[in-house]
């Protein structure tokens, strides 16, 4: 069983020795959306997968980030924000008057 501490130590060790192709958490963060969108190539995806396998903190981060990312559109797309069918009659009339004051198209 790898403890959190040991894993952290190991990652730090890898980073200090500049293991080729190994991402830091900060670099992982920059690829996150492209990774979720499937916009990375095969090699890129593999490098991110390795980071995710070895870094529980980023795995957890991604899981929460992804949930927020997925729910945001649904949170914004409600009847309340759409307010369908509601437009003040004053506004309709004001727009029509403003159009009359304009030269024709």
């Amino acid at each position: 069983m790898i403890t959190r501490h040991r894993l952290r130590w190991r990652i730090q060790h890898w980073l200090e020795n500049r293991v080729p192709g190994l991402l830091t958490c900060a670099e992982f963060q920059q690829t996150l959306d492209d990774y979720i969108d499937g916009a990375l190539g095969r090699a890129g995806r593999m490098i991110v997968d390795i980071h995710l396998k070895t870094c529980p903190t980023c795995r957890r981060y991604m899981s929460a980030y992804r949930k927020v990312r997925d729910i945001a559109p649904r949170a914004l797309d409600t009847d309340e924000t759409k307010a369908l069918g509601e437009i003040p009659e004053d506004l309709v009339l004001a727009i029509i008057m403003a159009r009359k004051a304009q030269p024709d198209a």
Partner: protein
Amino acid sequence: MERPDAQSADEIDLVAALQAGDERAFERLVRDHGPRLFAVARRMTRDEAAAQDCLQEAFLSAHKAIGRFEPHGSLGGWLHRITVNACLMRLRAAKRLAETPIDDLLPSFSAEGLRVGEPRAEVRDPETELEATRLKSMLREKIDALPDAYRIVLLLRDIEGYSTREAAEAIGIAEGALKVRLHRARAALKTLVEPLWDELGPS
């Protein structure tokens, strides 16, 4: 999304009448498309008076530009873009589109690039309809709390149906910059939402 694409025969007639300068056709345009576009202006400006001004500006721009409207395009989609642009213009004039620092809402890393200061608990999926509804309204509240530069990017990409390129062009920044801003908006949202997430549960 907000872009109906097919153009009906009815719409072709309406466009022809608009192009001929028919006043009744213009009124019909306002009555048919106004409510939907007003909702767009309200969620973009978050200000009733500003939304009204933007909607009026949008319809006047449409009136001026109807001669150049391509008959094979969608009238609804065309009006939607004009409205979004009118709102963006107003936000820009009020300096509300400039990126403000939100570093305290972004993830932190050590000098070696290791992630630090992350909560340990896993966020749960909502288990009931009520929980899901609460989560969505809490999220909406937090989106509204984001600085406009970030909030607008989320809106354009997630609600208004803009592609990365279209959103970047509309705001007037490079595509790469837009992607970074969108990512920061989502990361900030996660930071704001996460501490409250567990309170939504059935307890």
